[in-house]
Symmetry: C2
Subunit: 404 residues, 2 copies
């Protein structure tokens, strides 16, 4: 029997218990023994879970799980940052393999946790942390054996993609769609982490550090979210035979890298244009394999649980790649070299702003209270400096790269 200690019994945790229960026989066939969730760490022992759980399986004491010598795998799906860091470190130090779906903890402590696991010859796996159910982390690690990865990019946040898709398809306003998304459970009550791009940024930090085999931290990444987008922007984008996606992207650039999370206007014929609603997609490019793209559910109980359990199976079957997957490339942040054509809309502009904008504009689109420009090729740093020098409030402009 393989015993698992499960930390957290929220959406993903519940999905994990359900799949293990529903596929008991198939799993036993594959791994040759029973997979047993022996202990589950929860905050509240008395909450109704809607699950058929064994007496005494729930605990509020992490140490009870840590000290249990029969538990060889810890599955961390608490969603909490600082506690989960402590749990994962303690578990690895105690000789237990760890699987997590927590992108915040992987992003913040990636190097430290990867080294610790590698020193202890233990697994530290996190398929569920990026792209929900998409099996991309394992694929990326494997392709790294045979390829130099030159770039990685993706639609990594289902909430943003859901909002942008419905705004484009239905002409609804940002606020209307956000409200619907919240009602349907696609967005949280406080949507900041999603719509401001922090969630995408964390996932890009993980993908970029793996892909480019050098440390690329959260602070290394330029960040622009989607919360200030207006129907005026949507109409402009549609008139360009295009759509808009929040994309995280990291690339090899000269002696270093560029890394940015930003809304990108893509032609309707672009691959990413047909990645809609709450779906995610991750793409990377290797020197031998060429372009690879992966598409799937960006979140959701069973899809994320499935990703977590694929890591668990790899540990039980000993079929994961050993050693520290992170590289030691010393990469320079070349984000100051990042340039492109941009779409910039400013609301309630004054004459001074307009005259400054004319300098970098190829095309000007405007209506009463909004002015939008399409720039010539220009450094993003220049645009961001311009915006701060003009003192424009975050909610009063929207910036997107245009992929030609």
């Amino acid at each position: 029997m393989v015993n698992i200690g499960l930390l957290g019994l929220g959406t993903v945790g519940t999905g994990i218990v359900e799949i293990i229960n529903n596929r008991k026989d198939q799993l036993k066939n594959i791994v040759g023994k029973d997979i047993n969730v022996k202990k589950i760490l929860v905050r509240n022992l008395n909450k109704e879970r809607g699950l058929d759980l064994e007496e005494g399986i729930l605990t509020t004491d992490f140490n009870e799980i840590l000290r249990d010598k029969e538990i060889s795998i810890i599955v961390e799906v608490t969603g909490d940052l600082e506690c989960s860091y402590e749990y994962i470190t303690e578990a690895l130090k105690a000789g237990k393999n760890v699987v997590t779906a927590n992108k915040a903890v992987v992003s913040k402590y990636f190097e430290e946790l990867s080294s610790l696991a590698s020193e202890k010859n233990l697994a530290f796996l996190y398929e569920g942390s990026v792209g929900g159910g998409i099996p991309v982390i394992k694929a990326l690690k494997e392709q790294l054996s045979l390829n130099e990865i030159l770039e990685v990019q993706g639609i990594l946040n289902g909430t943003c993609n859901y909002i942008l898709t419905r705004m484009i398809d239905e002409g609804k306003s940002y606020d209307e769609v956000l409200k619907i998304a919240q009602e349907l459970g696609y967005a949280e009550a406080d949507p900041t982490a999603d719509v401001e791009g922090h969630d995408t940024l964390r996932k890009l930090r993980i993908l970029a550090t793996l892909s480019l085999q050098g440390k690329i931290t959260e602070e290394d990444i330029i960040l622009n979210g989607i919360s200030s987008i207006k129907s005026f922007d949507i109409n402009n984008i549609k008139s360009m035979d295009s759509t808009i996606k929040l994309i995280g992207e990291a690339k090899v650039c000269e002696d270093g890298f560029t890394a940015v999370v930003q809304p990108v206007i893509v032609k309707n014929s672009n691959y990413f244009a047909n990645v809609n609603m709450a779906f995610n997609s991750v793409a990377f490019k290797g020197d031998n394999i060429g372009e690879l793209k992966f598409y799937g559910a960006g979140a959701g109980k069973l899809a994320t649980a499935n990703a977590v359990l694929s890591d668990v199976l790899d540990i039980i079957l000993d079929s994961y790649r050993k050693g520290n997957p992170l590289g030691e490339n010393n990469l320079k942040n070349n984000n100051d070299k990042l340039k492109g054509n941009y779409y910039l809309r400013i609301s309630t502009p004054n004459k001074d702003i307009i005259s400054v904008l004319r300098d970098i504009s190829n095309k000007i689109l405007s209506e009463e209270s909004n002015i939008a420009i399409i720039t010539e090729e220009v450094e993003i740093a220049k645009i961001n400096n311009l915006i701060s020098s003009l003192g424009i409030d975050k909610k009063d402009y929207f910036l997107a790269r245009i992929l030609l």
Copy 2:
């Protein structure tokens, strides 16, 4: 040192030698020992290869490789059907692990070779046989542990997709584009296996048998190719805000399955619409993971070599799933239940044909010598029977499913 016996030194074989040479140090770091191509089976010892090969490495005698006790992995990339079957069987019987990129041999002898490898506790891997460089076979096998796979579909042939993309984008005729594709090496001198759909059919046979965990043979699959498509059809398709793809698709249907390779008219907003030129895409749906889609190079020297070498690494690192991956579901062929809306164009129709067509038409499009109909929902068997009862020659009609 790990010694490989390579069978075939064509495009893919050359790519394999190149990648192993170029990544010698990285590969040694990963597997902890040198990977060495010890012997290569070729037809002609004196052909100029453009490779820096060791003296005596080439041989025309398969038995020299088979008897070499130092060779533990046979990589079969001859492209030949009957010889490769013999080589693979002999290799497995002699206790050697086998990797192949040959879809014809996998498709024809899938059950037999899978059983033989499993009995001998050896690897029989074939990532390069479907979808070129796309790492989909391994992903599919792994998802089968956690999911019932309900359907699998894909754009599986780069030649057809290249021809259809250029016809749609540039308005060129089938013959013009085929000629360009042949000149550029995207199509062979005899393009039959590609354009008539046989290559797609073999790949679907492999994907379907794995996905649905029951034997689905080449003969089980309904087949319609693309060779009779005309510019008249392309114009009709474009006017439907759609494009056209050759798609192989197998689905669970009641107590059995349906399996078909056919041109499919998809809306421009469909995911597959933006899989263009020589790229491939494979999609499958599991009950937990939901939809997963994979996109990448459908062929090519380095991409296919990369797929083959990922299997080789899995053998060396012992990180592939053991046991026979094929299932024993006894599935009924329910292709007679397969129905949909179809586009049917007939050239030089007579009055009798037109009156029969009216029976199943929702819409009729026509010009001088062509009549095209869009059917109501109808069994494909009914349409195929109709076509044969009317005695229409293969080159004089074009049939495609319309995905609404």
